[in-house]
């Protein structure tokens, strides 16, 4: 009962998410953006389902195997719900364009987004990780449900998924306590830190990616033009059709060229 109450409290969004409510409202107000995000959620849920399915296949605990399997089936179903809704919205929309801003960085931090090595995780770590992921997703989904007054069918989907998340949050915590009665809090803290670290890594990788792209783009426009001119001139001289393969070309397996 205590567990249920705790889970229900998480159907409410966090303070941070509530602060971002106007941004979420703006993102979801556009039908095209909604379609893109729903498709993305569909993929995330399905990916998460696969991870959990894998967890079901590698665990040696029969009860956990059954629970993970249930969980995975739910996630697959959520994926289908999101995809079908997105497809329905797409069918109803007349535009074929994709919005410039998709608000991807605001997507829920579900397990599908983390680089999860299921095969190497212990049951405790997996349960702690899942519990926190479900909690974070539930918080984010509850704000999405709240800002979706203008689209009742999509709101109903979030509502339905939130209901499942309650079960997922419950069982992951209950099972964590069962599997590791003494040290379950330690596992939860470790999972929190791990999520934080992964969030930092995602941010750092994202920033490094932007930096790298910027530098490469500058190089592209500054350094490449003369080589581009040469390459195009050479391409004009190339003729279509067969190119003879010289017998010497492939002789050595030692070179990478």
């Amino acid at each position: 009962m205590l567990m249920m109450d705790s889970a229900r409290s998480h159907e409410r969004s966090t303070v941070f998410d509530r602060m971002l409510a106007p941004v979420h409202r703006w993102i979801w107000s556009d039908a095209n953006r909604r379609v893109q995000k729903l498709f993305r959620f569909g993929e995330t849920e399905t990916d998460g389902g696969r991870d959990i399915l894998r967890a079901a296949e590698v665990t040696s605990d029969p009860l956990l195997r059954r629970l993970y399997l249930e969980h995975a089936i739910d996630e697959f179903r959520h994926g289908v719900l999101f995809r079908h809704r997105a497809a329905a919205l797409l069918k109803a929309s007349t535009s074929r364009s994709t919005p410039g801003f998709k608000g991807e960085w605001l997507a829920p931090g579900g397990h599908g987004l983390d680089d999860l090595q299921v095969d190497g995780e212990s049951d405790c770590d997996m349960l702690a990780f899942l519990h926190l992921s479900e909690k974070a997703a539930a918080s984010r989904f509850s704000i999405y449900r709240d800002v979706m007054e203008h689209d009742l069918p999509t709101r109903a989907i979030f509502e339905e998924i939130l209901h499942d998340e309650t079960f997922h949050m419950n069982y992951t915590l209950t099972q964590l306590v069962r599997v590791e009665p003494q040290r379950h809090s330690r596992h939860l803290w470790r999972a929190r830190l791990s999520r934080l670290w992964k969030a930092y890594l995602r941010l750092a990788t994202g920033l490094a990616g932007i930096l790298g792209s910027t530098l490469l783009t500058i190089q592209y426009f500054v350094l490449l033009p003369p080589f581009a001119w040469l390459a195009r001139r050479a391409a004009r001289r190339e003729r279509c059709g067969w190119t003879i393969v010289s017998s010497e070309r492939s002789n050595s397996l030692e070179r990478q060229y």
């Binding site: 296949e57 249930e70 497809a87 792209s213 393969v245």
Partner: protein, 594 residues
């Protein structure tokens, strides 16, 4: 001599271990990592190969990567330069992608396996395809044609191969067609245009083609034309794959063929739009076939040989393969079970053994079963833990029981022996069902495979009965060994083979020799005794978006998530006692938690 072949980083990575000239293990990374089309460095596959053979990394004489990374880098950079300035978006992505990891293969392999750099070798991409096609085929002297999207620069190559028993081997490539002119890219562009996933859903285009008529032939022929020397060239104004990463076709392509299909929108063949997409698929399919037939005819005339070994992803097109057999002048066509990039792992290792080290030729076992073996006792244990009853039976009893199941219209998940290498389930990780009615096809599509209704299912038939039910030409049996050809179902049997007869009256049939899979052969016989028709529907044992199962536990979890009625792993048989076994289990689990 122990040689490890590796294929990675594009799509569907794999590892293969050749010991004393014979493959000892070959497995795709996706089957172990459980990520469909996994392109990552195949560490799990390598480990599986080493574990299966008991070989340590320091006992490897060579590790061969299936292409030359620097040559590929050269192509990507050159294409970016040629497309300047349109390539400004693609350039940073491509450079990060290649320079971040892919060009440093020697270091990557060395760090993962701990083998010295001098033992790491590289074949060319199409050389690997050619070796896979020729060295695994039971022929001594054959012409070789390889075709895919792109390797380093080559997209299609022709040549020949010759090997003498216990003697030297020779593989020659005469000439090649180079990027961006590519049959694979042409087909992939149409795959994207028709709203399917590139590098994954090309076979859907082939399936859809049967529903259409080639009414857009003229338009498709505008985007690809023959060159005076007998090759072909794409009209690059219709394409963008060589300049951007975002889209493979240009606005001109859309002007020519009409608006593309949006992914997720179902294809409704009763509408004009749905028929347009089917016609488009039929048209590009016909152009692909015509082009391949022309190229193969010229090769046959040039070499005067009767055998053709076909490699590369394009060789997965069973309809085109059947036309090649009928019209190219070759009497036999050999397509390996894994003609795509994954198969290059085996080809690279064999090439290294026969050509680089000059080891004498050896005849190879003619089957696709090179992966890890399934353990039936694992299924028995899982079932016991979940409170289900699994029978452990001897072969004869098991076959009788499963034949009864199939005759009673039950769907059977079947796992035995070593895992197949390649995209087709050829009887070791298969779902079997009665092939007689269209209802069974619809049931499989709806309840198990969750896939588009226009996609056909394949049959498996014992070699002794193949020509009774299927119109297989001379030489076709070879093509059908690994499900590489599409042949007509004989008219008189179509009504009784409704689940596997495609809309155009054909089927991608697997013709089974008893020596390749004796238990399955016996099962076909037993099923034939019960129903009068020794043919089964054979589809891969996986659900949509998932790789084919490997271990018993993966088969078991698949079995619980869909409407497969019976699961067999080794000698263990598990049957869903009621149609609501999943629901019962679900309720019980939730009760336990509560």
């Amino acid at each position: 001599m122990n040689i490890l072949g590796i294929s990675a980083h594009y799509h569907d990575s794999a590892a293969a271990l050749v010991v004393d000239g014979v493959p000892a293990c070959a497995v795709q990374e996706e089957r172990l990592s459980r990520h469909k089309g996994d392109a990552a460095f195949p560490l799990m596959a390598v480990e599986a190969c080493l574990q299966q053979t008991g070989i340590e990394p320091d006992e490897l004489d060579a590790v061969v990567f299936y292409e030359r990374p620097m040559l590929k880098f050269d192509r990507v950079l050159t294409c970016s330069l040629r497309a300047f300035p349109q390539s400004w978006r693609a350039f940073p992505k491509a450079m990060k992608n290649l320079l971040g990891e892919k060009v440093w293969m020697r270091g990557i392999i060395s760090s993962h396996l701990g083998v010295p750099g001098r033992k790491i070798l590289f074949t060319e991409h199409h050389q690997s395809h050619a070796a896979t096609a020729f060295l695994t085929a039971p022929t001594r002297h054959a012409a070789i044609m390889t075709a895919d999207a792109v390797g380093e620069w080559a997209t299609l190559s022709v040549g020949d191969g010759e090997r003498q028993s216990n003697g030297p081997t020779r593989i020659r490539r005469f000439r090649e067609i180079r990027f961006p002119h590519s049959l694979g890219m042409l087909y992939s562009t149409f795959t994207a245009y028709l709203g399917f996933k590139v590098n994954e859903d090309e076979y859907k285009v082939m399936g859809l083609a049967a529903y259409g008529r080639p009414t857009m032939l003229e338009q498709v022929r505008r985007v690809i034309h023959s060159t005076p020397d007998g090759a072909f060239a794409l009209d690059l104004d219709y394409f963008e794959f060589h300049t951007t990463a975002e889209r493979s076709y240009s606005s001109r392509f859309v002007d020519l063929l009409g608006p593309p299909r949006r992914p997720y929108e179902p294809i409704d063949l009763s509408t004009a739009e749905g028929r347009r997409f089917a016609d488009c698929a039929a048209s590009v399919q016909l152009v692909l076939e015509d082009t391949l037939v022309e190229l193969a005819r010229a090769l046959q005339r040039e070499t005067g040989l009767t055998d053709l070994c076909l490699g590369g992803g394009v060789a997965l097109n069973g309809v085109a393969n059947a036309r090649l057999l009928a019209e190219s002048g070759f009497e036999r066509i050999f397509v390996p079970p894994a003609p795509g990039d994954a198969g290059c792992a085996i080809g690279a290792a064999l090439y290294c053994d026969r050509i680089h080290f000059g080891n004498p030729d050896r005849d190879l076992p003619d089957h696709p079963f090179w992966g890890p073996a399934v353990d039936g006792s694992e299924l028995a244990r899982l079932a016991r833990e979940d409170g289900h009853f699994a029978e452990e039976l001897q072969d004869g009893a098991l076959i009788d029981q499963v034949a009864d199941d199939l005759a009673a219209d039950r769907i059977v998940g079947w796992m035995e022996g070593a895992l197949e290498f390649g995209p087709r389930a050829l009887g070791h990780r298969s779902i079997f069902a009665a092939p007689h009615t269209a209802e069974m096809r619809d049931r499989l599509n709806r309840e198990i495979k969750y896939r588009e209704p226009f996609r056909p299912f394949a049959p498996v038939v014992p070699i002794e009965a193949a020509t009774r039910y299927f119109d297989i030409p001379e030489g076709g049996v070879r093509l059908a060994r690994f499900m590489s050809g599409v042949f007509p179902v004989r008219k008189e049997w179509r009504s009784q083979l409704g689940a596997i007869t495609h809309v155009d009256g054909t089927a991608r049939v697997q013709v089974l020799e008893a020596s390749m899979a004796p238990r399955l052969h016996a099962l076909l016989g037993a099923y034939g005794q019960r129903t009068g028709i020794p043919v089964l529907l054979n589809t891969s044992f996986n659900l949509a978006g998932e790789p084919i199962v490997n271990r018993a536990v993966e088969g078991y979890s698949t079995f619980l998530r869909c409407k497969i009625d019976v699961l067999v792993a080794g000698g263990t048989r598990l049957r869903k006692r009621t149609s609501t076994m999943e629901n019962t289990q679900s309720e019980r689990t939730k009760e336990q938690v509560a």
